[in-house]
Subunit: 215 residues, 2 copies
Amino acid sequence: SARRRMFPSVRVKVKGLEPLKQYYIAIDVVPVDSKRYRYVYHSSQWMVAGNTDHSCITPRLYIHPDSPCSGETWMRQIISFDRVKLTNNEMDDKGHIILQSMHKYKPRVHVIAQDSRFDLAQIQSLPAEGVQTFSFQETEFTTVTAYQNQQITKLKIDRNPFAKGFRDPGRNRGVLDGLLETYPWRPPLALDFKAFGADSQGGSSSSSPVTSSGG
Amino acid sequence: SARRRMFPSVRVKVKGLEPLKQYYIAIDVVPVDSKRYRYVYHSSQWMVAGNTDHSCITPRLYIHPDSPCSGETWMRQIISFDRVKLTNNEMDDKGHIILQSMHKYKPRVHVIAQDSRFDLAQIQSLPAEGVQTFSFQETEFTTVTAYQNQQITKLKIDRNPFAKGFRDPGRNRGVLDGLLETYPWRPPLALDFKAFGADSQGGSSSSSPVTSSGG
DNA sequence: CTTTTAACACCTAGGTGTAAAATT
DNA sequence: AATTTTACACCTAGGTGTTAAAAG
């Protein structure tokens, strides 16, 4: 019933767009599998705890607030989805992205070419053509309502400006290089990348978002 | 060089739109005349203090953030422009509405029908057709950088939630019925209506925004 | 002299993890 | 026992009039 922002947020750079053409850029989050997971503390890893039907619901689309915008402008900036909100409330009517807790998900980024034949101003689902979809292995995450892993809590407190009040002033801001496991994520509450790419252009699955990397 | 919100904000209701058609709704602010004013304290009124050329600059357009939206949705709600920001900085590059201090202005509301032939997504100027423009006599105001009239200060403090810290707890919230003069307005800073219509449908110049009332 | 700017305390509005309580 | 919800103190972010200083 609660909703919180996705953190860390997905940030991407795009190349290869037509500079004068108009594009919408959007994000959604799709299940990685149909398994339910539980976190095993003593081995510090997520284990399969059963099956779930994701009930074939179409994932909600979050349109980047700068949309629509020219290819030139999109390519000049880092595109940040830091206002995306996640919820576990299936009845949500605020347009937030709906996820089930204790499941694995993967964000997808969609680049949608402006088509004068359709009104894309308030798209609720992806059009049939003119869409390129990208996803990045390192952004896979697991949903939770309470953090299972203390490293995640530490990461959040150190990196999220809104959690500044919980920082230990004596400790240095934890380097993220060592955090290459799958991190739990809190789904009224936030997103934990396997790797914390500042922008996804350095990702392993695609060094250039111009090339589709899945979806 | 500063910028502040317009307050009180312009709020309107619309009727007579086609329910399924898409519309943009926008606001701009145009000069009432080419005079410069000064406030005469002992007579509590604004007097002409000279001429100014408004240098024929096209006024900036503020698109309502809900745009575009169906006629049905626009008509169901009160349309509030409470995030409009005003500035006296002619070099402003943030898209805010630029005004000169110590001048008289009047807001205009534009209802713009969606036209698939043009991309209205980020309109910077009004299209040649498909626009209806409304303005209301009672929203005329005078720009200032510092309040000239203590009644205005009182009105702002009593009605603007962000000025709560200056409220006198013993005093009752000033009724606005008595404030029918022209109120100065603070143009990094805010807008003072002659009459404070909660929504403009009760205005004297037009009881229905469907009928043009000027501009 | 008049008008504008800038720093400030005081608000609204909303994003954090925490800890206790409630739910399943 | 595991998971979710709620109230909360503590933040970020930004909108007020005030006041003193600056600018014209």
